[in-house]
Structure formats: C-alpha cells, structure tokens
C-alpha cells in the first residue's frame, strides 16, 4: 500500500527550518534544503550531497519532493505551449509564452474557479480545489523551459486571492533570494479584486498587481462578473489609490473587449474618470471565444479605436498580443474542453 508523504517542495524557508528541527538537524539545514529545492533544482534527496546521508534517508522516509511532470503539452505555431499538470485527479494549465527575450509563464492558482465570470472557461468547471504552494510552484519547477523563464504571471486558472495563503507562500518562495529569486518586477498577480485579501496581498508582497476590470460601470460589471456584487469596483479602486500612494507599486488593468458591450466611447470616458489618480496601465485583451457564450470579441478596429482614445486621454493603454489561439490558450479551455467535464452536480 502506498503512503502519501508530505511534500517538501513549496515550503518556505521558515517551514524548512522547522522541518530540520523536527529531524534533529542543525538550523542551517533549512537553508541547505531551500538551496537544493529552489536553486539547484534537486530531483532527489540523494542528490543533496552536502546533507549527511542519514538525514537524506530520513527525509526520503518522511517526505516526497512533490515534483509532478506535465501530462500533456500542446504547442502553438507561435511558440506558445500549453501544459497540463495533473493535480489530485484533476488538471491545471500553465502556458509558456515566449516573446523574443521575454519568456513568460502563465500559471494557475486553483483547480477550477468559483467566481463565475461570464466570459471565463475555467468558471465552467466550478471550483474544485485550491492549489498548494507546491502545486503552484511545480508548474515552474517541472516546466521543461524553466531555465529560460523571465516573467511569471498568475493569470491562469483560478482566482489567486481566493487562495490567499498558498498564493502568498508561493510568492515568498518565488521572489526570495533563498528561493527562486525572481525580481518583484518580474511577477504579476492578476485578480478580480477581493478586498480583504487584496489588502493582505499588498501588505505582504511587493510584486505587481493586475486588476481584471472589464467594465467601468457597476451595473454592467455585475452582469459580467458576479464578484461586483460583493466587492464593487469603486471600493477596490479606492483601496488601490491608497496602496499605490504608499508603495508606488506597478499596477495594470486587464480589460477584455466585447463587441457592443464594453468598447464604446462611453466606456472610455468612464474608464478615464474612475482611474484618475492611479498610475496604471490598461491592457486591452482580445476575447478568445468560448462555447455557449453570448459575448463576442471586439474587432481590431474597435480595439485600436479604444486604445487610441485612452491614450489621447492621457492613459497608458496597449493591446495585448493574442497568443496560442490554435491550442485553446485561453485559460481553462484545454482542461475543460478535453479532459474535464464534471459529472452532474447535485446542487
């Protein structure tokens, strides 16, 4: 009978030091473990050669490394690769997006999602599980291209701030010198804006933040994003203004353009009004169509017109390149379409 051992990967330095203590090892063993796990990418306890052999044996008896290889990869003609990682019988997606010198990994923070956004394929799966810090970071560690990565974005499946503690632990490991060593400016967390968690996120991290906005009007945002009923955009922006005054953090807005829904001059005018006082960049995003949606993406002319209007009003606005369309690169498309049609839920 196999026994599931606790996973060592994804532990913070503090946790590794505690583990060392429980194994009667000296305190600096925690630092050695962090180095082996996150800097030297050890793939076995045996390879941790500066640890005493008896300690390596005890570690192997008590823990697993928790590394899980992707079970499937789909490659786009544009170089984007969509990886599917198994997690407790389900799957999460991570998208590797090369763009000249910039190599970005878009990773997932939950299996499924409970936010129910109208335009999101992941919402179709419902919420299934939070990813542990190990499972979040495994998407980096077990990525064949991990050595090339320059940027990490938490924009895959799930709402990172709904899985706050695991997201924070993964960010600590990701950005610490003893961890994976990514600069704070190279990591972006994208969220629909859950206020209490957002405050904690700002207090405990220095990474970049991207707000999924999608409509500046309360009524219209409610129709697209149920979270608006609970955490209205006005409250989120009010908090972001205070937070940005305190730490000058780089902020951006994610704005998927839907034809006839949120791409008018009226929307531009209201965006300008509500974002006044924030130093923030607006990323206009093309909509990757999903099945059974009443939404249609704006055409190129409408997006360019919107971008130019925002720039004319003094905002920094860009149209994000669309990547991996031939491999269902919109988050949740692959795992939902190909592999995961949940059994009927008895709700």
């Amino acid at each position: 009978m196999s026994v599931l051992l606790p996973v060592l990967y994804g532990k913070t330095l503090g946790e590794l030091r505690e583990i060392a203590k429980t194994l009667d090892a000296p305190a600096h063993t925690g630092n050695q473990l962090a180095s082996w796990l996150y800097q030297k990418s050890a793939s076995s306890f045996d390879s941790m050669t500066d640890l005493p052999k008896v300690l390596r044996q005890r570690l192997a008896e008590s823990y697993s490394l928790g590394l899980v290889a992707p079970s499937r990869v789909d490659s786009s003609v544009d170089g984007t690769k969509k990886y599917l990682f198994p997690v407790a019988g389900k799957f999460v997606e991570a998208a590797y997006i090369p763009d000249s010198d910039r190599k970005t990994l878009c990773l997932s923070s939950q299996v499924g999602c409970k936010m129910g956004c109208l335009f999101c394929m992941t919402a179709r799966q419902g919420f299934q599980a939070h990813l542990t810090a190990a499972e979040i970071l495994n998407q980096i560690r077990s990525l064949p291209e991990r050595e090339e990565l320059t940027n990490i974005v938490y924009m895959g499946m799930g709402e990172p701030l709904d899985n706050l503690e695991n997201t924070l632990a993964s960010l600590e490991i990701l950005t610490s010198d003893w961890g994976l060593g990514f600069g704070n400016q190279k990591v972006t967390v994208s969220s629909i804006g859950m206020l209490p968690a957002l405050q904690t996120f700002f207090e405990r991290t220095k990474v970049r933040f991207a707000l999924s906005l999608h409509s500046p009007f309360d009524e219209e945002r409610r129709q697209l994003m149920p979270v608006q009923l609970v955490h209205p955009l006005a409250s989120v922006l009010e908090y972001l203004k205070v937070a940005q005054e305190q730490d000058a953090r780089r902020l951006s807005v994610e704005y998927i353009c839907f034809a006839g829904v949120n791409d008018s001059a009226r929307h531009v005018k209201e965006l300008v009004r509500i974002l006044h006082g924030l130093k923030i960049r607006i990323n206009l995003i093309r909509f990757h169509p999903i099945p059974e949606t009443p939404l249609v993406g704006s055409d190129e002319r409408a997006m360019v017109r919107m971008r130019d209007a925002l720039i004319e009003k003094g905002l920094q606005a860009t149209i994000r390149k669309s990547r991996g369309q031939d491999i269902y690169a919109a988050c949740g498309m692959l795992s939902t379409k190909a592999l995961l049609k949940p059994t009927a839920t008895d709700y």
Binding site: K114, R222, A344, Y347
Partner: protein, 168 residues
C-alpha cells in the same frame, strides 16, 4: 462570507449555513449558544432587490438573499425556483410559500412529494418558457450559476437581464 437571510428593519441579522464537518467555520458556528458573542466584518456589496416582477433562482442556502427580499416586502410578482437535495432542506419554505404562493417552485433531487418537482432545478428550467422581459437573479454555486445561465441564454434571455451571486 454570507448573505443576510433576514429582512431590512427586522432588528436582527440572520444567515443560512450548512454545517460542513470538514469546514473551518460552520462546525463552530453550529455549536454557538444563545448569547454568544460573534465578531463579523463590515458588510461587503449588495444584491439588488426591486419591486417589479423578477425570477429568482436558488439552490440550497442560496435562497438566503431571496428570503431577505421577501421579508423586506419585495416578494410581489416574483417567481422563485428553489432547488435542494432533500425535502427538509428547502430553507424558509413555509414562509416563501405563504408570500409567493404558486410563484414558489421547489425542485428536489432525492425525494418526492406532492407539489414538488422531482429532479434537478435545471431540468425544470429547461422545460419552461422564459421571457426576456424581467430580471433573473441567481444565487448558488458556480456550476449551478453557469448551467442556469446557459439554459436562460438558450431560452432567449439576454445576459444583461441576469445577475448572479456566487457562493464565494
């Protein structure tokens, strides 16, 4: 985070919850004695109720905001489709039946009773005509919200007429 299940001006605040044994909160809440002190956050957000006709769709404890609206005097002209697994988990059913009359429809998946639709709420919704002339307010889990929205879209209800409160 819970929706209030009590009406405005009632002088007390009530919530609905199911005891989830593996949960961090509900087992403790279920053990509370009268007079116990409970710390709550400030309220977040709102779920709009209006005086005109509307269709409310809820599963399980998702009926909470609709109970609140009924108790706040907003029940007239409303249809409430309420889904639950067992007959005893239609929270507030007596009060809802009293206020909404034939506008209160129960859909039960595991037990049968006269006047109760046997089957999933979505099956009931599929079998009915739905019109685009009124708002649809939904409250429940994300899969329920997604399934119901898709049914309503197929029936010709525009997405602008649908508002959803998801169990976060």
């Amino acid at each position: 985070m819970y929706s209030l299940a009590t009406g405005s001006g009632q002088g007390e605040a009530g919530i609905l919850f199911n005891r989830v044994e593996a949960g961090e909160l509900t087992p403790s809440m279920a053990e509370l004695e009268p007079g116990a002190t409970v710390w709550v956050s400030e309220p977040f957000g709102s779920f709009p109720g209006s005086a005109g006709p509307a269709v409310w769709i809820a599963t399980g404890t998702g009926v909470a905001p609709f109970l609140s609206m009924v108790l706040s005097g907003l029940g007239a002209g409303k249809t409430l489709i309420h889904g639950a697994r067992t007959l005893d988990s239609f929270y507030g059913q007596d009060l809802l039946a009293e206020h909404l009359g034939t506008g209160y429809v129960r859909c039960c998946t595991t037990e049968a009773a006269p006047g109760v639709f046997s089957g999933r709420l979505t099956r009931y919704l599929e079998a009915q005509p739905w019109t685009a002339d009124r708002p649809y307010l939904l409250c429940g889990s994300a899969p329920m919200i997604v399934d119901v929205r898709e049914i309503l879209f197929r029936k010709g209800v525009p997405f602008r007429s649908i508002l959803a409160e998801v169990f976060f």
